[in-house]
């Protein structure tokens, strides 16, 4: 009787699906690394659980963080996910670089199958579970503060988005311990990912992780767009919005229109794999070209979903650290919108080599070059913003400068790739790999790190350590050049991407340098963690309770650091593009409100965490064909949504007296603080009160 019971319970799970069992049976270095990664997930997860239990913080975490609908808490949790996943994906990148450097006419130490999983998870994680959470977290934290709102338009939906993303990221981690991941690359091209060629669980993990994440992102996009349209404070017209809000808006629009094609693509692939459909199979009329079009209809706007928020960060950072208003605001708005629109017109350049007519390729090639125009305009606008300013080389500013110079190089190789005849030569080679890393590392990672250093004091009330920030910055920049410039050369020499072994001795020196670069990048990440540790340790010296450590002009700087739950005791009214600069120039930036009123904030809800966990459980059941589990997860998820609709007490009211108490406490900090000039903003003298400059 046990025979049919196991498959019914455990689906297609077998002991061989545990990396530990595989490593026991075949103790090769490749398997041991796999088992080690799985062990790290298990031990790390247990360690976190034990630590929280030992500290007795479960209640605190549950009340203040997991069930909180506060956009600031949700934003921070997104960034935590981003850093966690960045750590994993960067280690994977280092492993791949080491393997290629070791495997020149040699087997190396990572087996082909393991290598293929590494490049698939590296890409999938970096895009969906590092970049997306990072920028979503940044928008979540900053955008409502910048538009003078107390939360996003749909706080519960926000939590659902977060927890779907967390559930999907969790699924990625589970795939290290149970089973294996896809080997089909981050785009999951069929027919390779179809049952006929990849019958294992790998592509299913990929499909469901990406699907959960993409649903979360679509919901985030809707949430942000409505927030920006509807919740701006009085006086904040569209053309008074900070640049970061503009880029958030454009990114949200892109999310709304670009994520559904991805969800559709993965859903159709799932139909092929689960129900024997033939959308993208080789046989019975399936056609993978449809998949290529769908995935890149998402994939190209996705690039701008990733890059635009960073552009917004740079606009804020460069203006602030040049002590100037942003040059060419209107130009930047037009350029941002132009990029957002054009991003939907270029997707074919990802497959110039698919055999369509030369005219089609030419049209899409020219459209691709056209995107360079507004992007170039933005770079010059930032340069003119520094012109006749007073530039301070803070860590955020250093990232911005490194971005401008590095991004231009990536743009150049992008124009080269926009020429179909040149794309034919370097498509699918390391030249392409170098190009998109050259866009996304400066264009996303540097931007998010600049934002992290810029807004961290706002979020936590103390500045990050400057010295370690500079060390980390140096490593990110040097590491980038070392790791990726050689790849251009290798690509021009015809080295294909995703190669587990190399047979050209001429590639050797370049692969060695790229390997060193990868190690430098890893030390950059390590330095970031050291910086966080040092900063927390020295937090008392670096506190900026008044909330304006950089003498900036946006509304987010006009409130305490960290801000109170309700953000603004009184919703501000603005009549300027940099309202806080205006208030400071008028000499009365911290005028106390005439009277305090009770504020209604969204009450905590466990709907978000419940849906995230149930989403991941459903996905896990689907991956392993444990139909009972998938059914349970789905039913429980629907039950959760139904149950939530019966909850009537959706708000928690903060009494006026409490608001007054918090606000007056902050005003005491303001009175105690001495205003500091810009030359000493990096010292403990900076308590977040800026000296108004002449």
């Amino acid at each position: 009787m046990t025979e049919p019971l196991w498959p019914a319970l455990l689906g297609r799970f077998g002991w061989q699906d545990l990396p530990f069992v595989r490593a026991w049976a075949d103790p090769s270095l490749s398997e041991i690394i796999g088992a080690g990664a799985g062990a790290l997930v298990v031990v790390g997860g247990l360690a976190v659980v034990v630590l929280i239990t030992w500290l007795g913080r479960w209640g605190y975490l549950w009340r203040e963080w997991f069930t909180s609908l506060d956009h600031k808490r949700i934003g921070i949790l997104y960034v935590v996910i981003a850093f966690t996943m960045l750590s994993r994906a960067l280690v994977e990148a280092v492993l791949m670089r080491m393997q290629q450097a070791a495997a020149i006419n040699a087997p190396g130490f990572i087996a082909p199958d393991h290598f293929a999983q590494l490049f698939t998870t590296h890409g999938s994680i970096m895009i969906f579970f590092m970049a997306m959470p990072f920028l979503t977290g940044a928008i979540n934290y900053v955008m409502p503060l910048q538009i003078g709102a107390r939360d996003v338009a749909f706080p519960l939906l926000n939590a659902v988005s977060l927890w779907l993303t967390a559930g999907a990221a969790g699924l990625m981690m589970v795939s290290l311990v149970i089973g294996r991941f896809s080997t089909g690359g981050w785009t999951g091209y069929p027919p390779y990912t179809e049952l006929a060629f990849s019958p294992d669980v790998g592509p299913d993990y990929w499909i469901w992780a990406v699907t959960l994440g993409s649903i979360g992102t679509t919901l985030s996009g809707l949430n942000f767009a409505v927030t920006i349209y509807k919740l701006r404070c009085p006086g904040m017209t569209l053309m008074r919005m900070p640049m970061f809000v503009w880029t958030s808006l454009c990114t949200s629009i892109l999310m709304i229109f670009a994520m559904p094609p991805l969800t559709v693509a993965t859903a159709l692939l799932a139909l092929d794999r689960y129900l024997g459909f033939h959308f993208f199979t080789n046989d019975l009329g399936g056609n993978m070209m449809n998949y290529a079009n769908l995935i890149w209809l998402f994939g190209h706007p996705e690039v701008y979903i990733l890059i635009l928020p960073a552009f917004g960060v740079y606009s804020e950072v460069i203006a602030t650290f040049s002590s100037k208003e942003l040059y060419g605001y209107t130009s930047l708005v037009i350029a941002t919108m132009a990029i957002a629109v054009l991003s939907f017109t270029v997707w074919v350049h990802h497959f110039f080599t698919m055999g369509q007519s030369a005219n089609i390729n030419a049209v899409f090639g020219i459209a691709t070059m056209t995107i360079g125009l507004p992007t170039g305009v933005k770079i010059y606008d930032w340069i003119w913003t520094m012109f006749r300013g007073r530039v301070r080389f803070s860590v955020s500013m250093l990232y911005s400068l490194a971005f401008m110079m590095t991004f231009v190089l990536g743009g150049l190789t992008g124009i080269i790739l926009a020429f179909p005849p040149l794309d034919y030569l370097v498509h699918n080679t390391l030249f392409l790999v170098a190009h998109f890393h050259n866009m996304l590392i400066p264009g996303l990672l540097y931007g998010m790190l600049a934002g992290y250093h810029y807004w961290f004091p706002k979020a936590f009330g103390f500045r990050l350590d400057e010295k370690w920030g500079r060390i980390s910055f140096g490593c990110w920049v040097v590491g980038f050049y070392l790791a990726f410039m050689p790849l251009y050369v290798l690509g021009a020499g015809g080295m294909t991407r995703r190669s587990q072994a190399v047979f050209e001795p001429a590639f050797r020196p370049w692969l060695y340098v790229a390997g060193v670069g990868a190690l430098v990048l890893l030390s950059a990440l390590a330095s970031l963690f050291v910086q966080l540790w040092v900063s927390i340790r020295n937090r008392e010296a670096n506190r900026v309770p008044v909330g304006d450590p950089w003498n900036a002009g946006g509304l987010e700087w006009s409130i305490a650091a960290p801000p109170p739950e309700y953000n603004f005791a009184v919703i501000p009214t603005v009549n300027d593009r940099d309202p806080f600069h205006g208030d400071k120039a008028d000499g009365d930036p911290y005028a106390p409100p005439k009277r305090y009123e009770a504020i209604a904030m969204p009450a905590n809800s466990m709907t978000g965490p419940a849906l995230g966990v149930l989403g991941a459980v459903t996905a896990f059941g689907l991956v392993w064909h444990m139909w009972w589990l998938a059914g349970f997860g789905l039913a429980a998820g629907i039950a959760t949504i139904v149950a939530r609709s019966f909850v009537r007490d959706l708000h928690r009211t903060i009494p006026a007296a409490e608001v007054a108490r918090i606000d007056r406490h902050w005003r005491r900090d303001i009175r105690k603080a001495k205003p500091v000039g810009r030359a000493v903003e990096g010292t403990p003298a900076n308590r977040g009160l800026a000296e108004v400059e002449a």
Binding site: A116, G184, P191, Y192, A196, N282, D283, G285, M289, S322, S323, K324, E325, Y327, G328, S331, M354, G355, S357, A358, N361, A362, M369, L373, G376, I379, Y380, D381, W384, M386, R388, G389, R390, V391, M404, M405, V408, L412, F419, P420, P421, L422, D423, Y424, L425, L490, G493, G494, T496, R497, S499, F503, E504, A506, F507, P509, Y512, R678, A679, E693
Partner: protein, 310 residues
């Protein structure tokens, strides 16, 4: 690549020397490490080798035109990038906070002349490059037959896991992982896949095109000097992907005829048994020649996809 020859000679000398230095008699690891570090920049001079494997060392009219185009685009882009690369550090440093006596205009936010400067010239460059792009995209369309007095050599390429099958329908021969072509005569390749999507690239001869099951794509190219050139699949297709390389033998016409004759004399027909073997996932250690090919084999591959597969 004549520009490279001096560097090549230098680097060859360097490599000889560094081999000698790496002799085990050195003993101490630290000294060996120091030698390795000292040799690193020199090894880079030898890095020129890598470019000889790619389009920078073209061996046919298509790759030559592509290389030519790359030089044009590169030259234009140099002027596009230079202002940003120069202005960014200069302006940031010149207007640094600590420097006394700078003009400071915190509320200066717009200038029509500057706006014109950052919108109009780049637009002009994109329009100009657009014409170049259009011209070259049409001229270098992989489907476009090369102008020649000779008829093109027909080759049918079938992408398999993890190898390439090249069928010569007019010669009645076939080869796995070896494509012989006569120098100076255009080659017309029709591609399809007997498995997942793959992409055929011969960096020194022509850019790539996908091979997809149930569909035919085309590639035209030619070699203008004899030699052995590396071809490969660039689209990941499984565990043997990294090994899926083949050689293109560009040879004088009479040598090509001899190659065909040799293939036909192997007495190894591409019969159903041989075909079954090829359909298995494998990396053949050596190229294989076949003496005969069933008629319409290429069409058979395309038709396979109309039937349900197991």
């Amino acid at each position: 690549m004549p520009e490279c020859s001096l560097i090549d000679r230098l680097s060859a000398r360097v490599r000889r020397r560094s081999f000698r230095k790496r002799s085990p008699s050195l003993g101490s690891t630290r000294r060996r490490l120091a030698t390795a570090i000292a040799a690193t920049p020199l090894a880079f001079v030898g890095g020129c080798d890598v470019l000889r494997l790619g389009v920078a060392n073209p061996a046919g009219p298509v790759a030559e035109a592509q290389w030519h185009l790359l030089l044009i685009v590169g030259a234009v882009l140099f002027f596009v990038a230079a202002p940003v690369l120069i202005l960014t550090p200069i302006i940031a440093w010149h207007y640094r906070l600590g420097k006394k006596g700078n003009v400071y205009r915190p509320t200066w936010t717009f200038s029509w002349p500057l706006e014109g400067l950052i919108w109009i010239p780049p637009t002009g460059i994109v329009v100009g490059l657009g014409f170049v792009l259009w011209h070259y995209t049409i001229a270098l369309d992989p489907y476009r037959p090369l102008p020649s007095t000779q008829p093109a050599l027909e080759v049918q390429a079938v992408a398999l896991d993890w190898k390439w099958l090249f069928i010569y329908p007019d010669q009645g021969a076939a080869a796995v992982n070896q494509m012989a072509i006569p120098v100076g005569r255009p080659v017309h390749v029709s591609l399809t896949s007997g498995t997942v999507m793959q992409s055929l690239l011969i960096p020194q001869l022509a850019g790539q095109i996908y091979a997809m099951a149930g569909m035919t794509t085309q590639l035209n190219f030619a070699a203008n000097r004899p030699g052995t050139f590396r071809g490969q699949n660039t689209q990941f297709n499984g565990l043997g992907f990294q090994n899926q390389k083949f050689e293109v033998l560009a040879m004088p016409p009479d040598a090509f005829e001899a190659w065909v004759a040799r293939a036909r004399a192997t007495a190894r027909p591409l019969d159903p048994a041989a075909l079954d073997g090829l359909m298995q996932k494998s990396v053949p250690p050596e190229p294989i020649l076949y003496s005969s090919v069933p008629p319409d084999l290429f069409q058979t591959f395309i038709a396979r996809t109309q039937e349900p597969s197991r």
